[in-house]
Every structure is written in C-alpha cells, then in structure tokens.
Assembly symmetry: C2
Homo-oligomer: 642 residues x 2
Amino acid sequence: MEYTVHFLPDNIKVAAAKGENLLDVAARAGVYIHAFCGGEGVCGKCKVKILAGTAPTEKGHKITAGERAQGYQLACSSTITGDLEVQVPVKTRADGTALKRKPKTTRAIPARSLDSLVGKWDVDPPVEKRFLQLDPPTAEDNAPDLQRLMRAIKKGCYDCEEPTYDHPALLQELPFILRQADWQVTVIMLRGKRPEEPDRIIAVEAGDTTGEFYGLALDIGTTTLGGILLDLNTGKVLADASCYNGQIGYGEDVISRIIYSQRPGGLQALREKVVGSINQIIASVCGKQGIAARDITYIMAAGNTVMAHLLLGLNPKFIRETPYVPICNQMPLTRAAAIGIDAHPSVRLFLYPSVASYVGGDITSGVHACQMHKSSEVTLFIDIGTNGEIVVGNSDWMICAACSAGPAFEGGGIKYGMRASAGAIENFHLDPDTLDPMIITIGHSKPCGICGSGLISIAAELFDAGVIDQQGKFNRSLNHPRIREGVDNFEYVLAWAKNTMLGEDIVITEVDLDNLIRAKGAMFAGYVSLLETVGMGFTDLERVILAGNFGAYIDLERAISIGLLPDIDRERFYYLGNASLMGAQISLVDHKRFRERNQVSSLMTNMELSENHKFMSHYMAALFLPHTNMALFPSVQRALTT
Amino acid sequence: MEYTVHFLPDNIKVAAAKGENLLDVAARAGVYIHAFCGGEGVCGKCKVKILAGTAPTEKGHKITAGERAQGYQLACSSTITGDLEVQVPVKTRADGTALKRKPKTTRAIPARSLDSLVGKWDVDPPVEKRFLQLDPPTAEDNAPDLQRLMRAIKKGCYDCEEPTYDHPALLQELPFILRQADWQVTVIMLRGKRPEEPDRIIAVEAGDTTGEFYGLALDIGTTTLGGILLDLNTGKVLADASCYNGQIGYGEDVISRIIYSQRPGGLQALREKVVGSINQIIASVCGKQGIAARDITYIMAAGNTVMAHLLLGLNPKFIRETPYVPICNQMPLTRAAAIGIDAHPSVRLFLYPSVASYVGGDITSGVHACQMHKSSEVTLFIDIGTNGEIVVGNSDWMICAACSAGPAFEGGGIKYGMRASAGAIENFHLDPDTLDPMIITIGHSKPCGICGSGLISIAAELFDAGVIDQQGKFNRSLNHPRIREGVDNFEYVLAWAKNTMLGEDIVITEVDLDNLIRAKGAMFAGYVSLLETVGMGFTDLERVILAGNFGAYIDLERAISIGLLPDIDRERFYYLGNASLMGAQISLVDHKRFRERNQVSSLMTNMELSENHKFMSHYMAALFLPHTNMALFPSVQRALTT
C-alpha cells in the first residue's frame, strides 16, 4: 500500500498498491463510479479525470480525443503506478450520501495481526537430512550395510535410541547407494512421534544433498486444491499452485461425491481424480522451481473428512447416513507413492486429523494454524462454504459444528451463480439515487455470472437502498428499467446483454435472494446455537476469525448487514485466508507444531446441528435481512434508520 | 519303543517300535544281516528264522515253500508288530566280532532330554484374538468406527495405552465388517514390541472367531522348506509339510543362487520361486486341517541370510564378495501378502534375524530354540550342511562361524550322491569277513544313490574294516569282486546293477571319499578354530547339540570314527532335529520368547574362518580318517587297535 489515491469531490483518500485497478480502489474506498460492464471498457460509463499523477490505461476506445486531452480516462482500465488525484465527474459519480453513510472496511488486514494470530514457528521440520561419512567395511568390521549406517547416525549421540528403519524398498537400494557414493551419503530421518521414540530412517541419498530439502503443503478442498513448495532448510515458500479438484465432474459437493463413490468403481475413480489433481500441483510447483517430484521429502496435507476418505480409498458411505459415522478421524499414515502420487517411494503423506464427519482435517489445520487452542481469548472460527464449519472456544474448551448452508456461497442455486473465476461479479455498488450498478468482475472482464462475494455485495446494496425488503422481496412500487418481473419472479438486471460475455441479461432473482438468505441463516443459526450451548452470546466473543478462500473475499460490512456475520466490534475480526493450507505449511516446517496436530483435533468436541431443535428455531429466526430480531444487529439498525 | 526284538545267536536284545522294519532294527542293534539290494526283497540274502512271535511280510518270493514252513522270511520285508525272537542263520549273519566291538548308539534320544534342552514355553502368542461387543453408534455417540473399536479394546483397561492400528486395508473393510456383524467382532492384535509399547490392531473379523486361531512356523532352507501349522489357542501342532525350495533349479547352494540373482530378472525369479514353495507349504498344511490360507494369523520364519535376502527382494550381491557384507541382519517386517505369499493382507511375516552373511536366521532360531544363550554349560551347536554353521558358548558369550564344507553331505561331488529321498542308501554295514554289504535305503526300495548319512556309514565301515586307509585310499592288496579299479580310480561296489533302480552298479570311489574327507575336515577345523579362539578344547565342552535335518540322521559313532564329530563322552551329545523350525514354532506361540529373538542374534559374535590362517592349518591336519593326530580320537584309536 505504497501510494495514495485522492478522490474528489468526495475528498476521500485511500491507500493503493502498485498495479491495482483504479475501479477496485474506488470500490474499496466506497466511492461510487458507474460501471455496468464489469470493467472491460465496454460500457464507457466509468470515466474519471486525472488531476495529478498518471495511471496508464490500455482500453481507451470509449474516450473521445477531446476527453483524452482534458485528462479523462476509464477507471476500469487504469492501473495505479503512483500517487493519484482523481476527479469523479457528476455523470460518473453518485451522490455519495448513501455510500459515505458507513465506511466500507478493507478486506486486507495488516500482516502483523496475522502474525500475532498464527504465532511464531521454527524452521525445524519433522524430517531432517544428515550428511554422513561412513567407514567402509573391512574383514575386521563387516557389519551389514544397515547396521553401519545406523552406527554412523548414532555416532556422538550416546543416549539416543537406535533408529528404526523403513520398509524393504529402502534396503533394496541401500548397498548400491552406499558403494556408488563411496560411503558418503545423506540420510533422511523422520523424528520419533514422541521425544522418547527413536528416529526413523526413511531414505538415503548419495553424496551431500542437505542443501536440497523440500516439502509440500497441500490443501485438498472439495472444489480446489492448493499447494505450496517449501524450502525445509529456510522455511521459505519457493512456489505455489492451485487447481480444481478433478472430482468436480462427479459432483459439486461432498454429498454428491459420496453418492458417486457408491457406484461400482466409483471410489477408485474419485481417488484417481484427486490423485491426478495432486500430481498436477506437484508438477506445477516443481516445474516453477526446476526440481524433480522425487526431490520432495514429505507431504503434509489437510482436507475435509470426505476428501481424506476418498484419497485413502476409504469408503465414505456411512458419513452420509445418520448418525454420520466416519471410518476414522486420525488418518492412517500412507506412503504417497502407494496411492499413485508422483513422489519418491519413501515419501509419507500426512493428513490432518478430522473431528467428525463434517468437521474435517481442513478445520483442524485452520484452528491449529491460528493457535486458537492455545489462546485464552474466546474465539469464533468460521469457514464459510457449502458446509460452513464453525468452532467456538479457547485454550480451555472448543466446540465445533458444521451447518449445511447449501451451495449459494459457491454459486449453486443462484440463476447466474458461478465459482469465483474470471468474469464473476465479485463486487457491487448501487447508486442510491439512480439505482444503477457499479459492478466489478474478477479479472476485469465482461461479466458472465455472480460468485459468492458478489452475491453478498448485491444483496447488501439492494437491501441498503431499499430495493429489497427484509425478506428479500423486491419493492414492487419502484419503477426502474433494471427492476422487472422475470420468468418466474422479480429480478434486478445487473448487466445488460450487450455488456456480458453471455449475450443475455445477467440478473439476480428473488429465488436467488431466498437461497442466499437460507444459506446465511444456517451459518448464523450455527454460531448462535454453539454459543448458546456454552451459555454465551456474541458479546462474549473476543475474536472472530474468517478462514477459507471465500472468507478472505468477504466484505465485512456487507456480510454483517445481511446477517451472515455477527454485528460486533469490527476490530475483533481477522481474515486468515486459506487456514487449512497455512496449518499444513506450519506443521511441515516445525516439528513441535507437527506433533500437536492430533491433540488439536481431540480438543474439539463436535455437535450435530442437524438433529438439534434449537438450531432449527434459530434458523427460522435468521431467515430475514439481517435478522428477525434487529436488536442483534444494532449497527445495521442504526444505519437503516439514519 | 514298545516291543523287544531278541537276535540269536548273538543274544542281542533291542527295543523296537510297532511298524518298524526288521532290517532297520538289526542295523540299529549292530546285528549284521546280508542285504545287498537295499531291502526290496530282490536279492533274497537277508533270510532270518522267526523263533517266537510273528512279523508280517509281503514280499516273500525269494523264499521257498520249505523255508517258509521252517519259519524263514526276508528281514527286509518284515514288519514289527510285537515281541520277536529272531535266529540269524550262518549264511545270513556275519561273524559279528567286528560289529560287537563297539555298541552303535541309537539316533533317537529320549524326549525328556529334548525338553530339558528346549525348556518350557507358554502358549501366549505375540498376537491375540479378542471378541468384542461394541455399542452401535447413535446421534449422541457417533464416534468414528475405528475409535469405537479402540474404545471397546481399552474398556476395563485403565492404564493401557491407546492401541495403534494398521494400514488402510484394515480401515477399508472395517465399517462393513462392523455393521454386517452387528457390532460383534473379533479383533486380532499384535502385542507391542516392548511391554510399554501399545498393542496394534492388525485385523478385524465378523463374529466370534477366537476359536479359530492359527499360526505358521516356517523353515526356509536352501534345499528344503518345512512348515508347521499351529493352533495358537493350545500350541498344538495341527499339520506339517515340507517341500523342496523351488529355487533349486537355479543352483544347489547359496553361492550359485547369488550368482543367478545378478542376472537380469534373476532376483525377482528367485523370489517368486521361494514364495511359490511357501505357498505350497501353506496349501498343504491348510488342506490337511481343512482351513483357508487366509485363516492363518501370522507367520514366523527362519532362513539363512541369503534366503532371507532373496525372499525380501534384497540383493545379496555383496554377501558373496569379500568382506561378505549383508544388507541387514534384522530383517524388515513385511506383510506376507505384499511379497506374494497366499495370506490375508494383514498377516505379518516375521523373520529370525541373522548374525552375519553366512550365519543366518536359521542358526539364530536354532540357538534360540535350545536356549543355549541362557545356559551356563559350554555348548557346541552344530548344523552340518554345505555351509556348516558352528556356535560355541553359553549365557556369557557366544561365538559363531560358518565353514564351507562343500556339498558332499548333501550328495554333491559324490559319483552316486543324492539327497535324502527314496532309494538313497542311508545306512550301511560291512561284513568284516566277507566284505559284503548290508545296505538300507530310504523307503526300503532298490537303491539309486547315496545320501549324506549313508556316505558317513560307508566311509566309517570301510575304514573300520581296513578296506580304506587313513587317507581314504583303497587297500590295493585286497582281492574282492566288489573292490576294483574303476574308470578313474579304485571303487567299491555297493550294489550290483541288477539290484538297483538305475540298472548299473552303484559304487563309492576314492574321489568320493576324498570329497567327504575335505567336508568333514572343514567342519572339524571349524570347531577347533572357534574353541581355540577362546582358549578351549573338546574336553571343555559340556554339550554338543546336533541341529538340522541331516544332523538328526547322523550315526554318532560313525561320525566320530571318521573325525566329523569330536571324540568325547557320547552322553554329551543331543540331537535337536530341525532346530530352525523349532525356534520359529516356539516364538510363534510364546510372546516372551518372540521378543528375545533379536537379543539372541546380537549376543552372537561372528568370526570369518575363510580369512583365518589357523583355520587353514587345522583343516590340513583334519584331512585324515579320523585325524592326523590320533590322540584327538582316543576311542577310535582304541577300537582300531583292538
């Protein structure tokens, strides 16, 4: 955030980073600029005048030569390269009254607060590499190769236990490596699970390879996989990559995956698909770093319970059937190569333990990453998604639950819903006077749909402007070309056909809004129910941690104003991002953290909300914007009555 | 030994068991009876007269009706069914003087002395089966299947650790077994390696299967495999089986197997062959007992270092090259099914640890079986074979060595040598007056060759009678149709062509005798060298234990008279039989013994005799019958000078 952008005539100053898009900066600052086409320079509505500084622009065909001479350019195609003073013309800017009514928070939080959350970790991985110089065998000392190796490892360590060793594959190549390397080798050891347990030799490499020491952290999501290649000597991130979970073709959510897994060959097919995606991640990060897949020393992964079952070939059938029983929470240790992952045969795949069928290793990893189990502050940890997972507690107690929010946040059940990819409307402002939209799409391309964060923005803005009521119904008395009765019910036109990728109008309908309200209602009822279990309310919460990729893109104010998040002091909120991947990353480099992972899951007590009557009544009460009981949302109430 | 057979006119009484062959009884008693054809009733020379009792006979065509009326029948086809008084006619019997000169010991020793050697063991195997009644999951208690199982295991055991569990295969079937069995299952647990280590769940079976609890003990020899199926509830032997090692086609001894293993695909081929043989044993013992291969719960095996390497796919290349380095002594724990053995996927294959390249797990197992490492008595443990292994010591110290005796004891390098199977001459007496033979073959069929124990008998008898001298050379001055100059050198005709299976004369040659002398010389030099290392001589030996199948068939007196075994008090000798299989069997049923096995191998210090100059000079001195230094063989010297 090195530069300042000064918007006039509103006189709003906002920090901006090099390379940011001017429309994004305006949206973040709460400055309304007409933008109907998502920012691809098609509608030509987002003209602004640069008063000081320069912001390079590429797409300027909607600007006349005369306008250009006066300093006009399109905000949607302007890039920040320095401090800027920007005049928003009357035609472009909105009145601003409604917008300035409350400051929009920024989604980014300072890195230091993330550090304070995650705590310090050491670069001292659960695996280690040691270079050894062995004495060659002689007639007087012809001990077996393995024994010679173990002796060298123990040398100078008088109280350490004899290390154990790995499966035959290690021994099959050992004699040849030792002799080819002239008895100078690097041994890869896995530390004992507990301090008193002996270390374990997992691989031996010729020569001194201690300089090349790599680990892979993996987040195995139902939709997306993310991976980070780490230098285990320094803890530095060398490369990252993400890709869709190859299982997507077999169903969007875990339930449809379970159903598919029950077909003949289904379990195997799903396993192969996710393994294929993991291999894609490995190929990508290794390619970026110029190393081979077999140079990765170990893999630490986190995924939900169903993903873990499918990856290990464990049948998830009973996870779907009441009373929702997984096969195991602590996943068996597996050799990555044994299940088809492109890795050296010695490489172990560690998976974060689950808590229950619908609170999986991704949540354990996230809770572990933010060290919630070690903090005295009462914390609400939220991962919003199709299955929203919630954890409440501190170092003394933790309870958790999953609430089936439905797929609205992932774009499911929404007429023009889509995942967060190029062309998805991710941000939205409404001109309170003209009721015209300012839409921002991912990648600043023409819009082709609405993703979860866009949906929340749209609902919040429509509600704030009185376009929809508390039940999400359109105000029938408004006479506006964008508000109309569609095929089935009322809708608002976000973008006209000519300005979209689809060549048809992109709208939000009352059914869409109803689905959103159900989704946010389920999440909200979840928090309330969990807190109620321990006799607490929102005021008791000292921290709210938003985890998950989706969580990182939520606009806090808007999420509160629709009742998705509790209306408490904004300073208590933290954005953790991909907490699951972060937990895996930390365990990968710090063996003390690594050893804690099972303890974290065992500290969490799961509650089944689906069978909970109180949850149902909380859910019914939450099917309003923001809630039936407005007293729960004081700041929203204040804003509405301003 | 329920009956007594009384031989006249020698007036020798000997105990005999029901079903024994009369010729065998006579041989054991030292009563010479003409028998040229091996006992198939072909030569008709072994006529005896039954004075009291009856001995049923089948092949009587060489007996005239008149002879039959007088009570004559062929000894070789007479079976003991009760007490017997037998007249050996002048024509049939020898003078007897030479035979009665020394009593032939019996090869069987009373069972109680074997017990005293092996000690007591408990039926308390390293694996256990427990029947469990689990509570089905409910909405209030929907813990994972695995956790539910572990809870049931821990129930009522407050201080025991959480058990660990096995690889994914167990978990893959767990939910279905639990539900199909209505939550009543039998769990198979492996006890922790040390008392403080947690137990490990290795398999789960539907219902109560505690009554069916089987283990397999295996001896994996270079030539032969032996297996015993045990009831792990009672320790009782249910069935046994043996077969040739399928690797035999790739070479007779370990060296030729190592050479073959270096060919492309050789290691894999050898592994598949021995696995095939193991599967043959499993099929045989399971077939006899009417159980399935997958009902076997675990396998405890012993084999020499090369056999263990080949079975596990470990390249034995450097075992053959100086300084003779194996990959490992403690063999990695392997799942039997993973290497192709026909077993349930959970079944572990335990292998006795080796001491060195040529002192393998079979010797460790044998030493463990006879508890030599716990006895204060100085003991010489011998396993005679192509590679004769020797261990000397007691509970304070043990040293061991292998001496490459060559294949003579296995029939190798002997013109008519063969393995101990049907038709092999296994026992031999010489009429000191007529120099005619009394030969006894395995299975009492026509002879087709000579096995190791036969070879020792032949050499001892020829030497005792003065047919050969101390260097194994025939007395050229004897004029006898059976002693003649053959193709290359002098030879003795054991059986004429018409009385053999081969249709040609079966002979023993001077080259054969030379090979035997080298073999016994190597063994003898081995004992002397090992004892010398600790400043001891034969008189210090309190026990001599003969292990191995071959050892069980050695005639003690004759083995001493050719200098293969030391000339000490006969009471100090013990026949242990297949000690390797016995050790495996005991470890299979007693977990305390099971845990000792690595300790036993680590207590044994190996010496390399092949590089030992003193061994070479002892070897040169031992290339005489019985030895250059006759003072080492006082009883032999006394007999010769009688």
